[in-house]
């Protein structure tokens, strides 16, 4: 439904197909009347013949033919409700001209539409006058002023003056409806956009119209805030200044803002956005409607984590370790030191004494330049992941696009809770399930955001997903089945998920795969050269080599293994075991603190280039503001090091980021379409391809849990201590904090009160966490969020073990 109503940019009307079918059979006959295309509806718009599409709303057809009809409640990505009546136009369907809300009526053959008649104009002016009976005229102090549909349409379609002299409504100003969003009720025009969004798009019905008549207002339930991961969208679509977002409120006027289109890289969905800044400071991101990706929506993490770019804590200058600890230095000194360290280690231990980890937080260009440098030096220890994702072989499967997933006959969810990890992908797939386009079959050991929309949500013991898949193989049949596979449990080996994926593909070899890897550009980094050659040289192997003292130099590209690698113990030992650590990063992290050389990297919004989303779609990111301090992009650092290390090759030869982008198109298989020309102005990006390769065999098969233990599931929440969130004060406070979630009966069996501390005893460590009684957790399972303040559940994770079983004791 929702896609029918939209300005679907890519579905061409069917007339293109006509030629073939007609020619073949009917060429012999004498000039047959051409069959009228059933998908085209001829209507008259303001005296002009236009071709509308079958089922198209009058307002959408008019807009597609350059006739703007004023409106407030209509939104192309949501169902029409006809709340505001601003879109009244005259429509004749054979019974004479009548005023009709153009967002509620679909075109019909021979319909006559007049959007500019005297009557239509009077109706539109009357509606504006009525809305302004209560709406305050406080545009000069309203955040929306300058970009406000009400203000703009009062000018373009309003009467210019009002007959109302009555007192307007007054309300307490403003009331917070969540930690991020504030509501000025007297400005609300009751268009139902925010409430419809919460219900229809996000599925978080936490705001609702309350009261009635003149008292009607948008409200939450007392003490139950609008804590949706998508709340920022309501601010963007509110057609007046009733909803404002805490991080942007009163920071700028629209006419002070300059903007550039870009792509969000806070996760690998790659939502299209505009980056808006004033005085060289990023102030806001807004979602842009990319039909194959985000439909205009963003999640709150992606929307508000620009605060991290502006953070006072940014690493502004390079640093080297001296006796006083890490001290600021010049770039030439720092690069010189880095080149020296690399040269020494090459001389002493050869390229196998160097490891390069990371790249998933940067651009394709960053990762490509570093991969080229690593190639030139012969470095094989490299990876963009470190046991936190899935083996790079998932990218070599027959890959689905988001659109294909959202229109599949069956969507199979394996692993990740995409509401927490890939929020806007969650919106797309939720829509597919809610609108009954797709059956949703989920395999998970805990309830996920999608569970309530699933046709079948199958719970399995952590580690035993292959068994569950094999038992349910009849659910996986069908022609266009898409498997969305991610890493749901960081406390079990990725092999278990891969074995389950292999089982799905064995049951239905035609199924396509959408890899739900989370980190911003992980797909890009792995595709352009940061993928390990084999298991012996992947991220975990690199960390193990470092921990065993086999690495002289560990280079971290925006990577913080201590926080990002599930096995923190291994990461800590690796950081201690590597003789030298070179960290290229934007913010101080636990890992940069242990580095010997820190090179200040440009952050998102400060550097241009391209990024690759989880479907392999490459789109541009823009350098809207200048870099912090003397920070520079990773690719430039790689190029400078290449020169210092006397490497001749393309990498030492690039002068601008465009050169690197062009080199990627020339050299990376599947990226040949990603030319600068193709990217320029292409909002939807360019889809790359991968040569399908069968999955290498994996053996999963964790043991059954013994009944005295609990089996640990460590999953990600949207907000955690990852650097982008932790450095953004508005969202950092939304992290839920550590906890051990247990079924209420298991809590009772332990004899502890909700919130009391319990001790989780694993094979190699123990962790103390507050217990949370949670009926959605299966008995015998303990679920804990990853990387949260207030607990160290990560200590229990052993990257070499297939699952993590723990004993739980009362403290």
């Amino acid at each position: 439904m929702s896609t029918e109503d939209t300005n679907a940019t890519e579905t061409e009307p069917v007339d293109a197909v006509d030629g073939d079918t007609d020619d073949a059979d009917e060429a012999v006959e004498a000039e047959p009347e051409p069959e009228p295309d059933p998908n085209i509806v001829p209507v008259t718009l303001n005296g002009r013949e236009i071709e509308a599409r079958k089922g198209e709303l009058v307002i959408a057809a008019a807009e597609r033919h350059d006739t703007y009809i004023p409106h407030f409640c209509y939104h192309p990505r949501m169902k029409s409700v006809g709340m505001c009546r601003q879109c009244l136009v005259e429509v004749d369907t054979g019974r004479g001209m009548q005023l009709q809300p153009s967002c509620m009526i679909t075109v019909s053959p021979e319909m006559k539409i007049d959007t500019e008649s005297e009557t239509a104009k009077r109706a539109q002016e009357g509606m504006i006058e009525l809305l302004l009976a209560n709406h305050p005229l406080d545009c000069p102090v309203c955040d929306k002023g300058g970009e406000c549909p009400l203000q703009d349409q009062a000018f373009s379609h309003g009467p210019g003056e009002s007959r109302y002299i009555e007192e307007k409504r007054h309300y307490e100003k403003p009331i917070p409806i969540s930690d991020l969003v504030l509501l000025d009720r007297e400005r609300c025009i009751l268009c139902d956009r925010c409430t419809r969004f919460a219900d229809e798009v996000a599925g978080d019905k936490l705001i609702h119209f309350t009261q009635r008549g003149n008292e009607t207002q948008v409200m939450t339930f007392p003490d139950e805030p609008f804590a949706s991961y998508f709340s920022g969208n309501t601010v963007q679509i509110c057609p007046v200044g009733a909803l404002t977002a805490e991080p942007y409120r009163f920071k700028a006027r629209p006419w002070d803002l300059a903007q550039e289109e870009s792509t969000c890289t806070s996760c690998s969905v790659g939502c299209r956005v505009v980056v808006q800044s004033s005085r060289d400071e990023i102030l806001r991101y807004q979602g842009v409607d990319s039909d194959p990706v985000n439909h205009g929506w963003m999640c709150d993490k992606g929307r508000f984590d620009f605060e991290a770019v502006n953070s006072q804590q940014r690493i502004a200058d390079p640093m080297v370790r001296t006796e006083q600890g890490l001290t600021d230095t010049t770039w030439s000194a720092a690069l010189g030191a880095a080149a020296g360290v690399i040269r020494e280690s090459l001389a002493a231990g050869g390229p196998d004494a160097i490891g390069v980890l990371g790249g998933a937080r940067g651009t394709n260009e960053d990762a490509f330049a570093w991969a080229q440098l690593a190639d030139a030096l012969g470095i094989t220890y490299r990876d963009a992941q470190f046991g936190d994702g899935l083996p790079a072989s998932v990218l070599g499967l027959d890959r689905a696009t988001i659109d294909e997933a959202a229109s599949a006959s069956t969507i199979v969810m394996l692993g990740a809770d995409i509401k927490e990890e890939l929020p806007v992908l969650y919106l797309r797939l939720r829509d597919a399930a809610v609108e009954k386009r797709s059956k949703l079959v989920e395999f998970s050991s805990v309830e996920t955001g999608l569970s309530r929309y699933a046709t079948q949500s199958i719970r399995h013991q952590p580690g035993l997903q292959s068994e569950a898949v094999n038992e349910a193989s009849d659910l996986l049949a069908g022609d266009d089945v898409v498997v969305v596979v991610g890493r749901g449990n960081l406390a079990e080996s990725a092999d278990e998920t891969m074995a389950a994926l292999a089982a799905v593909l064995a049951a239905n070899p035609s199924a396509k795969v959408l890899p739900a890897l989370r980190r911003g550009n992980v797909v890009g980094a792995l595709s352009v050269g940061m993928a390990p050659a084999d298991d012996e040289h992947d991220g975990l192997a690199t960390l193990r080599a470092a921990a065993d003292g086999k690495l002289d130099v560990l280079i971290l590209l925006g990577a913080d293994p201590i926080n990002d690698c599930p096995d923190t113990d291994l990461a800590r030992r690796a950081m201690a075991g590597a003789r030298r650590v070179i960290s290229i990063d934007t913010h101080p992290s636990e890992s940069t603190k242990l580095a010997d050389i820190v090179l200040a990297a440009a952050a998102y919004g400060e550097k241009a280039g391209t990024t690759t989303n989880l479907e392999g779609r490459v789109s541009t990111v823009s350098d809207k503001v200048t870099t912090t301090g003397t920070a520079r992009p990773d690719w430039m650092i790689a190029a400078e090091l290449a020169i210092m290390l006397d490497i001749d090759g393309d990498i030492a030869d690039v002068a601008s980021v465009d050169d690197v982008t062009a080199a990627i198109a020339a050299e990376v298989p599947g990226f040949d379409g990603v030319t600068l020309d193709a990217l320029a102005g292409e909002r939807n990006g360019v889809l790359t391809s991968a040569n399908p390769k069968p999955l290498p065999p994996v053996v999963g098969g964790a043991p059954q849990r013994n009944t005295y233990d609990h089996r640990l599931v460590v999953g990600r929440k949207l907000y955690d201590r990852a650097i982008g969130t932790a450095m953004s004060h508005s969202i950092a406070k939304l992290a839920p904090g550590a906890g051990a979630h247990l079924h209420p009966l298991d809590v009772d069996a332990l004899g502890v009160a909700d919130g009391a501390d319990v001790r989780l005893i694993g094979q190699k460590a123990t962790a103390i966490l507050p217990v949370v009684s949670n009926p959605s957790i299966a008995r015998g399972v303990v679920w804990a969020p990853f990387n949260q303040a207030g607990g160290t559940v990560e200590d229990l994770i052993d990257a070499a073990a297939s699952v993590t079983d723990v004993k739980i004791e009362v403290v």
Binding site: K205, L206, I207, H208, T210, Q211, R212, M219, T220, F221
Partner: protein, 205 residues
């Protein structure tokens, strides 16, 4: 405390079972909880949300649309005095004034003993009998100030308790539908043809 009692919970489940979609039982359940507590409490709304698998925001959104659901404590007897045209012409203003004097409270508030709440109301659809008022939604016609005093005295003494049950009581007999008499309703999703009462010919040719 203001969640449904076990007895009322059993009634609630019985009501929910009558609807093809749980959510449809919201209004009857709001009445049930108002009957239990005299008004609709936040806890009660949370409880209904749980029972109906909707959010508390949806419950409050629906409930606050209706005048007859109260969200603060009201008196055992809620007196609505019509203030619309016919009644206003025939002394509704004076009647209200008298009521406020007699009970010592302003319209919209409740007496300290929790017995009476007075409210100004719109037309009660009995204009020929003006001025009118309702006590717990039972009509009283051509009300004089003496009638009003008498009514208050009778309500206080309990003389009218047979006629006027306390606020929140919809009817004294709970509806009971024996299983063999239960008609039920089809799930809207299962309805493929036109409703039975509209003779629609579906032409599938």
């Amino acid at each position: 405390m203001s969640r449904l009692t076990d007895a009322n919970l059993a009634i609630a489940r019985d009501i929910i079972a009558r609807y093809p979609r749980k959510k449809s039982a919201l209004i009857p359940l709001l009445h049930l909880t108002q009957e239990q507590n005299g008004y609709v409490t936040d806890d009660a709304m949370r409880h209904l949300a749980e029972l109906l698998d909707i959010t508390p925001a949806e419950v409050i959104g629906t409930a606050t649309f209706y005048e007859m659901f109260k969200f603060e404590e009201v008196g055992t007897y809620v007196i609505n005095i019509c203030q619309t045209m016919s009644c206003a012409l025939l002394g509704a203003g004076a009647l209200m004034h008298h009521a406020e004097e007699k009970l010592g409270i302003k319209a919209g508030s409740t007496t300290a003993d929790g017995m009476f709440t007075i409210e100004a109301a719109e037309c009660q659809a009995a204009c020929t009998e003006a001025p009118t008022m309702q006590v717990n939604y039972r009509h009283q016609y051509r009300v004089t100030t003496e009638d009003f005093d008498q009514m208050i005295d009778d309500l206080r003494s309990g003389a009218l308790s047979g006629d006027i049950p306390p606020h929140g009581t919809l009817g004294r007999n709970r509806q009971n539908i024996p299983a063999d008499k239960f008609v039920g309703a089809p799930d809207p999703d299962d309805v493929t043809e036109g409703p039975a009462w509209i003779p629609v010919k579906v032409d599938n040719s």
